[in-house]
């Protein structure tokens, strides 16, 4: 599924350049493909060089953890990614790299963290369209590609989470809860953009439930798992969650779902506001204290949204992109202090002064990101 998605997205960006390659994308590896061998601790990329246009990677996971593979541009702009590569599997990624320059490849065993990075140097003439309209279209297309990739992963992880809940395996469900949510938290403004209560059905917190209304979604199941034990209707809640997320995926993938590139920047800001509003206080994951997973996911999602419009930022205000890079790096470094294993420490162990420091970093980043919309709009 995902392979097709990426191929289609690439077609949309560069129809001419890719016209001759479409056939090949569905075929087996060719001599020009770059083999990537991932383990839990290594990431061997067959070539550190490419030319402008499309590069095809064949990623084989020889490790024991599920992994993912990314190609990043400036500012950690996601040029392409393939997620959920199980042990022993090989997946293909075709990625359009329109400009010459230094990109980065990354394997992420366990699907968290910055991954094992390496430079990937692209030479040749730029094949991108240079006009702004082209950049805006490309930004919207790129961001939609990101959203679709997250929704795909969300569906897969939710299926597994729901299965654990329904089998009564509380420990497994607890372990999967924050990981599953991460995919949602990265793109939450998109879910909020649909007018039919989809976001509240999936993500409402208990204090926000109106008297008499039914409380569904992640946080209801969270309460069952962590504090009150599985309830007679927990399984129904799990099924409901899976159905709601299927609905989200369907809406996101619909042909008529388009993304306004200026709204992408607004979404980046919205995600940071989320952090400032409910994560920093620990209200979001009140029962599980897994707020830092959400926190990181919001920040990652914000970074992806900013990265999608990065070429426009660079064109209109070169200093802003660099400033934002620095602020994301500072916040990531601060968050890294709370990493534990493949995840994070629980938020109830984070002290007030530590929360203050995180809040300072969010404020600093948010002040820069608040400028992005105007810059993208050419103001």
């Amino acid at each position: 599924m995902r392979r097709t998605t990426f191929a289609l997205a690439a077609v949309a960006v560069l129809p001419l350049a890719l016209a001759g390659c479409t056939e090949k994308s569905s075929s087996e590896a060719s001599a020009e493909d770059i083999a990537v061998t991932a383990t839990d601790t290594t990431c061997e990329v067959g070539s550190a060089e490419g030319t402008t246009g499309n590069s095809t990677f064949q990623i084989t996971n020889n490790g024991s953890k599920v992994t993912e593979f990314y190609v990043y541009g400036e500012g950690d702009r996601v040029m392409g990614e393939v997620e959920n590569i199980g042990p022993g599997l090989t997946r293909q990624l075709i990625v359009a790299l329109p400009d010459p320059g230094t990109y980065q490849t990354a394997c992420k065993a366990g699907m968290v963290g910055d991954g094992i990075r390496a430079d990937f140097v692209v030479t040749g003439d730029a094949v991108r369209q240079a006009d702004e309209n082209g950049l805006l279209t490309e930004a919207a297309t790129g961001y939609k590609r990101y959203v679709v990739s997250q929704v795909d992963a969300l569906q897969e992880t939710t299926a597994s989470f729901v299965a654990a809940v329904k089998s009564g395996d509380i420990e497994s469900a607890k372990a999967q809860f924050p990981i599953t949510r991460s995919y949602y938290e990265r793109i939450e403004p998109v879910a909020e953009s649909f007018p039919d209560d989809l976001d509240p059905r999936i993500d409402l917190r208990e204090p926000d439930v109106e008297p008499g209304a039914e409380w569904t979604g992640f946080h209801r199941i969270e309460k069952d798992l962590w504090t009150q034990g599985l309830q007679p209707d927990t399984n129904a809640m799990a099924d409901q969650l899976q159905a709601d997320i299927a609905e989200l995926a369907e809406k996101v993938k619909a042909d008529d779902f388009t993304i306004d590139p200026i709204q992408v920047a607004g979404g980046a800001q919205g995600l940071l506001d989320e952090v400032a509003k409910t994560k920093i206080s620990g209200e979001e994951d009140f029962f599980s204290h897994t707020d830092l997973w959400d926190f990181q996911a919001n920040v990652d999602g914000s970074q992806a949204a900013v990265a999608a419009v990065r070429p426009i930022i660079d064109q209109n205000d070169a200093e802003l992109g660099t400033a934002i890079d620095a602020r994301f790096a500072e916040l990531d470094a601060e968050l890294a202090k709370y990493r534990s294993g493949d995840g994070f420490v629980f938020y109830d162990t984070v002290t007030e002064p530590q929360r203050q420091e995180l809040s300072n970093k969010i404020d600093a980043l948010s002040a820069e990101v608040s400028q992005v919309q105007g810059v993208v709009a050419g103001q």
Binding site: R327, S359, A367, E368, G374
Partner: protein, 419 residues
């Protein structure tokens, strides 16, 4: 008024007003028939008197006649880059100078920046006058180490010692720098601090802030003495702007005192003093007056008639000393303190109620002095040990800052320190 009348603003460039100029003019026309000359007279005196000069030998907001309202904020510095910090000080200076004139923080900032940008002025002061806004900056002890400026840190600028009965809350104490905004309209003061904080994100972060709603001292002989939340006149014996020799002796730092860059500056001591209002309110008048040492009605020292009668610390009545040995005025008087005086500039505050239904209220004490170690510290030590008032108050926040001198034409906040 002499300070601000000496150089009335030639350019009444109130863009904040001008935006509503058309509306204002229409209203004036409509009102002309009804109130005639009154409207014209009040608006012209308003325009002359409510802008305080931003530049001068000393920072405004110290001996400027105390305005009615205050928003005080302490920041921590979050950058290690001296360049970033100096850039912020320069930007703040420009913003401050504009706001003090009654203008927006940036030209046309509230609505003219484009629909996809957060407005560069938050807008809540649109249509309000300058309201005698003053903005005063001070640097805390921690700033100097952070930027490798230790050799420029005045010896007098150190975290205050722990005083007996202090119950300090770290979340309301200290800070690497402070800005005091005083104005006659609270919305103007809050607008100023909000906008300065907004552009500071990433370079500084707000550590704590305090709103004050009623000045608790007079800094000019033109002002009536206000009352504090205990109902007593406060600041009767304060230093006054009209006595420059006393200010030079007690408030303004001399360039030869310690650090040359502080010449013309002053030190700011801030103490959040919670008043135990409910206990006080259950205390009989006789006891209240004994504690303070002044009559509640007139403000006169005990046994005397007029508020400004000099303290007579030795007179006795039938029950002994007229002013109790531990009365607040006695312990705080220059006579008892070997001539020590400070310029008080505090404000009443009320931050709602605590969890027991008691008013969270008190005095946000601000004092300016030439040397906190030889002026504020001995005064506070004397008070903390003996003051009868201690039964009704608690010191819960504390901070000290070095306020640099005033700004010349091309100076920015702190340019004597950062060059």
């Amino acid at each position: 008024m002499s300070l601000q009348d000496s150089n009335p603003p030639q350019n009444s460039g109130f863009s904040r007003r001008r935006l509503f100029g058309a509306v204002g003019a229409g209203a004036a026309l409509v009102g002309a028939g009804a109130v005639g000359g009154y409207a014209a007279g009040s608006s012209s005196s308003d325009a002359v008197s409510d802008v305080v000069d931003f530049r001068g030998d000393h920072q405004a907001g110290i001996v400027t006649p105390a305005q009615d309202r205050m928003h005080f904020v302490a920041f921590d510095i979050t950058t290690d880059s001296r360049d970033d910090f100096v850039a912020l000080l320069r930007e703040w200076t420009e913003m401050a100078e504009r706001m003090v004139r009654g203008e927006e923080t940036f030209p046309d900032g509230a609505i003219g920046a484009g629909e996809y940008k957060p407005p560069s002025d938050t807008g809540e002061a649109l249509g309000l006058s300058a309201s005698s806004l003053t903005l005063t900056i001070g640097f805390g002890p921690g700033l100097f180490d952070r930027f490798g400026l230790s050799e420029f840190r005045p010896a007098s600028l150190a975290d205050l010692q722990h005083f007996p009965a202090d119950n300090l809350d770290a979340r309301r104490s200290g800070g690497d720098l402070c800005i005091q905004a005083c104005a006659n309209d609270p919305q103007v003061a809050v607008h100023a601090i909000r906008n300065l904080a907004r552009v500071g994100f990433g370079t500084v972060s707000v550590k704590w802030s305090q709103l004050g709603f009623g000045r608790t001292s007079s800094t000019s002989t033109t002002q009536a003495t206000p009352r504090n939340l205990f109902g007593f006149k406060d600041g009767t014996a304060n230093l006054k702007a009209e006595d420059p020799a006393m200010l030079d002796e007690h408030v303004w730092v001399s360039p030869t005192d310690d650090q040359e860059w502080m010449g013309g500056g002053s030190y700011l001591v801030a103490r959040r003093i919670r008043m135990l209002i409910e206990s006080w309110d259950r205390t009989v008048l006789n006891e209240q007056e004994r504690v303070i040492g002044r009559s509640k009605g007139s403000g006169a020292p005990m046994g005397l008639k007029d508020e400004f009668d000099p303290l007579d610390l030795d007179s006795k009545g039938p029950k002994g000393l007229l002013i109790d040995e531990a009365a607040h005025v006695r312990l705080a008087s220059k006579e008892e303190l070997g001539g020590i005086q400070i310029l008080r500039r505090g404000y009443n505050f009320t931050d709602g109620s605590d969890g027991f239904g008691h008013l969270d209220a008190g005095l946000f004490f601000i004092a300016y002095c030439r040397d906190p170690l030889t002026q504020f510290v001995p005064m506070q030590l004397a008070l903390a040990r003996k003051d009868l008032l201690n039964e009704y108050i608690q010191h819960v926040g504390s901070a000290v800052f070095a306020c640099p001198p005033g700004l010349g034409e091309s100076d920015y906040w702190g340019s004597t320190l950062f060059g």
